[in-house]
């Protein structure tokens, strides 16, 4: 479809418009049609990942060395920590998630991407909102509401940028090629619907017309928890449900289970957020309902875990030869872990110990980093070569990226879990002074900074590798779908040792 024959936005939005469906499109043509918008979202997401990583390191060091950059007002902990949170949540995770969503939607709709300029405009608005919001936080204009610290004057830009993506998603779905709607598409369409609902509601209730008292906390945690479960999780699972079967060349183990997993997530997740307020001054029934719903989350999580594991059964050797698979399978395993942990965290007895400790931070990173970010890295390893037309430059850099992430995550989880547990036990002991508890956490916080250094190395290595790809300095091998079909690991071993 040439630009001249491409439908206008008005035509795409018109209920009566009946486009010609291009059937049997080559996969390479579809991929190429997504090139500009997807690379724009990927490039900017990596920029925000690096910015967020720097903020993370500063915040982490300040926790055990408070004097570090202590005399620079815009780098005080109260500003750098929310700047880290918002740049990684909205700048990195949402942006890369949208990029992956665009690519997957075009592939799964089996049609060329429509309205790429609309997506480029969305990318511009979204990033403008991020720049203004981040500068606002650093300048002292934070709203002080966790996960929503961007000042009110930046959020309309974010919302407008997102709205264009949402509208584009509906258009793509409407004009998809006929056939079955694959489970990944269900997740993606749901995420595109859920995010404006979450973000719009919370902006209205906390920023535009703030509700009063403890209701603020309920709304806040309803958003903070659901943005993970109904925005990032569907995008991450959509990618896992597509890439795992696609890379190993084997259909999902049980498609019945995947449908059950999707609909049970849609039914139960929305109720979960209030379990973060156990013991707080909110109506008991709200918390009880949340605990029950959290427990019900065992259903979708178990279903997804069984499905992914059984799909991979007999194919685990491919982890040695596929970068995409290695990252995504690690992410999928962490999804199971973080979700089971989340279910358990809803219990009142467990909450007594972990609440207000580093364990909550560990849980958040297990979800946002070990699960979502790793799945996104894996997706990018698959997608980028198909957009720029060459293979990744160096297997060594990919392995360095993976292992730095892997050990960084493991170290962070160990230190924050043990440190959080020690901290929680101390807080529950009336004979332990607060000073002693604070001092007891310092070694664990130093451990967390060390893990941050590993993750920082990983991010800069990946960004460098990505820039090489953007400059087309990768390996000029293969065609649009690339890769020299390493059907058997033995064949692969001839060119590259399969050492992990």
């Amino acid at each position: 479809m040439s630009d001249a024959s491409a439908p206008t936005l008005l035509q795409s939005l018109s209920p009566g418009h009946q486009p010609t469906v291009e059937e049997n499109l080559e996969r390479g043509e579809i991929d190429q049609s997504t090139r500009l918008p997807v690379l724009a979202f990927f490039t900017t997401s990596l920029f925000w990942l690096l910015v967020g990583t720097v903020f993370a390191m500063i915040s982490s060091f300040k926790l055990h060395s408070p004097e570090f950059l202590g005399d620079v007002s815009w780098l005080t902990f109260g500003r750098v920590r929310p700047a880290h949170l918002n740049t990684v949540i909205f700048g990195w995770a949402s942006t890369v998630g949208i990029g992956v969503t665009i690519w997957l939607m075009a592939r799964l709709c089996r049609t060329r991407l429509r309205h790429p300029r609309m997506l480029l405009a969305a990318c511009g608005l979204w990033n403008l909102g991020l720049v203004i919001g981040t500068l606002g936080i650093l300048g002292g204009d934070s709203t002080s509401i966790e996960w929503l610290e961007f000042p009110g004057y930046s959020t309309p830009l974010l919302f407008l940028g997102y709205a264009l993506v949402g509208i584009w998603g509906v258009i793509m779905f409407r004009f998809r090629a006929p056939g079955h709607v694959y489970v990944s598409q269900w997740y993606l369409i749901a995420a595109l619907f859920w995010f404006p609902w979450l973000y719009g509601s919370v902006q209205l209730l906390l920023i535009v017309h703030p509700v009063q008292g403890s209701i603020q906390a309920i709304v806040n945690w309803w958003f903070a928890h659901n943005v993970l479960g109904l925005w990032f999780t569907p995008m991450g699972l959509a990618a896992a449900y597509y890439f795992i079967p696609k890379v190993i060349g084997k259909p999902v183990h049980s498609y019945y289970l995947s449908a059950l997993g999707f609909w049970s997530l849609a039914l139960f997740y929305n109720w979960n957020g209030a379990h973060h307020l156990i013991g707080g001054p909110v109506p008991t029934w709200v918390i009880s309902a949340s605990i029950v719903a959290s427990f019900m989350m065992f259903i979708p999580v178990t279903v997804v875990a069984i499905n992914h594991h059984m799909t991979m059964r007999g194919k685990f050797h491919l982890l040695a030869t596929s970068p995409t698979l290695r990252f995504i399978v690690f992410g999928a395993m962490c999804y199971t872990l973080v979700s089971f942990q989340g279910c358990l965290m809803a219990f009142r007895s467990y909450s007594k110990v972990y609440h207000f400790t580093q364990l909550t931070i560990a849980h958040a990173h297990l979800g946002m980093y070990a699960f979502f970010t790793m799945v996104m890295f894996g997706s990018m390893y698959y997608i980028v070569p198909r957009l720029v037309g060459c293979e990744w430059r160096s297997a060594t850099l990919i392995k360095l990226h993976f292992w730095a992430c892997f050990y960084g995550v493991i170290l962070m989880m160990l230190t924050l879990h043990i440190g959080g547990f020690v901290q929680g036990l101390g807080l529950n002991n009336p004979n332990t002074s607060f000073e002693m508890i604070t001092k007891s956490t310092i070694p664990y916080l130093i451990g967390r900074s060390l893990s941050g250094i590993l993750l920082t190395i990983a991010h800069f290595v990946f960004a460098y590798h990505f820039v090489l790809m953007l400059l087309r300095l990768g390996r000029p091998q293969g065609e649009a779908t690339l890769f020299t079909t390493p059907a058997l690991p033995a064949a692969h071993d001839k060119t590259e040792p399969a050492a992990l």
Partner: protein, 73 residues
């Protein structure tokens, strides 16, 4: 505040209704039928079931020239 409350309740109703409509649409259009064959829609003639579609790039010691020669042979 009344306006905000009304908007929120309308949004809740709209999104709740959208979920029900989506479920009904899926059932009506046969999305829950032939589940096992539906799992194969991501495969096609070029990338069939059984084809592995991702791997590490070849070792850096090999130049692109030698790698392409290898491929041709």
């Amino acid at each position: 505040m009344l306006l905000v409350t009304t908007i929120i309740f309308l949004m809740m109703a709209a999104f709740g209704a959208a979920a029900v409509v989506a479920l009904c649409w899926a059932a009506r259009t046969g999305q829950f039928k032939h589940m096992e064959t539906s799992a194969r829609v991501i495969f096609d003639a070029n990338e069939p079931v059984g084809a592995v579609t991702d791997s590490f790039p070849p070792s850096q010691k090999k130049t692109p020239k030698t790698a392409s020669k290898e491929k041709q042979s």
